[in-house]
């Protein structure tokens, strides 16, 4: 007999089931950054321990399968600079400076993509014994908050609500000419918005 399934496993597997409910599933998360890495301004050869500019002719053919794309030169990597191409900080590209907004858009894209399913699950959960218990707990928590904390929470919730409404308006105004949630597009530096 199978043992009890940890909650994290259940969630991970349930998320995969959502794919079957979508006629044209959009990407959930893109780990693949091969294209962005190949176009990064610097390439680090892990075989020879050598830092090159992208496209340097001194990169050995035997190292092509072991190159890491870099957008900036870390201080400890300067000692590995190739003598042929002499990589300099001038060529550094911008890493994602907008990491926080990427997170917001990430959350919104999930809500956008799975909104109907999440709402449906929310309704079911609210009616369940656990849901009622949680609601009572949240009500109690809210009652016990100080005025200032309650006001802060209200501002956060209102802002999120407003942001969702704005995104929905923007989405409509695109009139279907762009990718629905932007998930399929490359981020500027290809690192997925790593802060």
């Amino acid at each position: 007999m199978a043992a009890a399934e940890p909650l994290g496993d259940v969630i991970a597997l349930k998320i995969q089931e959502l794919r079957r409910r979508q006629s044209e599933p959009r990407p959930l998360v893109r780990i693949d950054n091969r294209e962005a890495a190949a176009n990064a301004p610097f390439q680090f050869d892990t075989v020879e321990a050598r830092l090159h500019r992208n496209g340097c002719r001194a990169i050995p053919s035997g190292s092509r399968t072991a190159l890491y794309g870099l957008w900036q030169i870390p201080p400890q990597a300067r000692q590995y600079a190739c003598a042929v191409c002499r990589p300099e900080a001038d060529d550094e590209d911008e890493m994602a400076s907008d990491g926080v907004t990427d997170y917001v858009f990430g959350v919104l894209s999930v809500i956008d993509q799975f909104g109907s399913v999440i709402r449906e699950r929310g309704r079911e959960f609210r009616e369940s014994a656990e849901g009622r218990q949680l609601k009572a707990g949240l009500d109690g928590l809210f009652r016990n908050l100080e005025d200032r904390e309650r006001a802060t929470l209200q501002v956060v919730l209102t802002s999120l609500d407003g942001l969702l409404a704005t995104i929905a308006d923007l989405d409509k105004s695109f009139d279907g000419t762009q990718s629905h949630n932007g998930n399929g597009t490359q981020s500027r530096n290809g690192d997925g918005g790593h802060p």
Partner: protein, 341 residues
């Protein structure tokens, strides 16, 4: 890092004769004299530490993986081919290598990081089984599905084995920022290396190449497979990988693969799998040279810390046990799994 047959499933600490970590032991058991007094030569106490750690990690691995297997793929526990035990042994080895990598990266190997090492070992074992064990068509299909997972995050779970695989991946991805630029590149480089290796094996083109090119290609394939795997492992156990240690991690991974391939020489040949070490004319001497070159490079290039010492001791131990395994396998036609038990 592959597992087919008895691949990667040995118990390096448990299987090597006592005292074999010294240069005297090397002489006695392998017949391959190594230069005495080399600066990298591990202290016998460090070899003992490998033994002790392996014993403890074997229990940790069991405690972590058995509930997961019981939940998602209970049939594996009753598998007559000892696949479950092999999975535990590979994960144990990965946990120990993860320990060395984590400390090399400059971080303590705490319980959470150890857990990631165990999960990664299990993940490798299952991913390799998809690629190795179900025939060429399934191999190609799995590569496509794993690429889909990496490019979109979607993985259509069809069997209990796949359910276990995905649950393990889910835990790993939840435990670590998988979008770290170096880690995600390492994952994709590992995938590409696996795909090249598979194409080489299924296409059979390597046999048609001139011998020199054939050997170079096989050597590079071995290097990349395990070189990238150890980088991914480090990415999962350490919060950050400094660029300065990347080449040495890669070197350590490549050495593990060559040692593995020598130990699996006869079973690989029985399955028609070409590797660099089963194609060179004098494999034991070739491996000895590779071992000496790689281990000296690691010792000189890595920061002098406990992680480096553990890695060097493990690799020395592993080299010895796989030489021994190669010899024993030559004498037996059966699988060498019994060597370790």
């Amino acid at each position: 890092m592959r597992h087919r047959d008895d691949r990667n499933t040995n118990r390096p600490a448990a299987s090597a004769p006592r005292g074999s970590g010294t240069s005297r032991g090397l002489d006695r058991h392998s017949g391959l004299a190594l230069p005495g007094g080399a600066s990298w030569q591990p202290d016998p106490a460090e070899i003992e530490r490998v033994d002790t750690l392996i014993r403890g990690y074997r229990e940790d691995v069991l405690a972590c993986l058995e509930p997961a297997v019981r939940t998602h793929y209970p049939e594996l526990l009753d598998n007559p081919g000892e696949e479950y035990r092999k999975m535990l042994e590979l994960s144990t080895k990965m946990t120990l290598v993860g320990h060395a990598c984590c400390e090399i990266a400059g971080y303590p190997y705490d319980e959470r990081r150890r857990l990631n090492g165990i999960l990664f070992g299990c993940c490798c074992f299952l991913a390799d089984s998809f690629i190795d064990d179900f025939g060429p068509d399934a191999t190609r299909e799995y590569l496509e599905r794993i690429e889909l997972l990496l490019t979109t995050g979607w993985f259509d779970v069809r069997t209990e084995r796949e359910q276990l695989f995905y649950a393990i991946i889910g835990r790993l991805f939840a435990a670590r920022d998988v979008l770290d630029p170096i880690l995600r590149q390492a994952i994709l480089l590992l995938f590409e290396a696996q795909r090249r290796d598979t194409e080489l094996r299924l296409g059979g083109d390597v046999a048609a190449l001139p011998r020199r090119e054939q050997l170079a290609l096989l050597r590079r394939c071995a290097r990349d497979r395990s070189g990238h795997a150890i980088t991914v492992l480090t990415g999962f156990v350490a919060p950050e990988i400094e660029l300065s240690i990347l080449p040495y991690l890669f070197t350590a991974g490549a050495l593990i693969m060559h040692i593995d391939d020598h130990g699996d020489c006869y079973s690989d040949l029985r399955h028609g799998r070409l590797t660099y070490l089963n194609q060179v004319r004098n494999p034991a001497a070739t491996l000895r040279k590779i071992f000496l070159d790689h281990i000296a490079r690691l010792h000189a290039g890595l920061p002098a810390n406990a992680g480096r010492d553990l890695m060097v001791a493990f690799l020395t131990r592993y080299f010895l046990t796989r030489l021994e395994k190669h010899k024993l396998e030559k004498q037996r036609s059966d699988s060498a799994w019994a060597v370790y038990e």
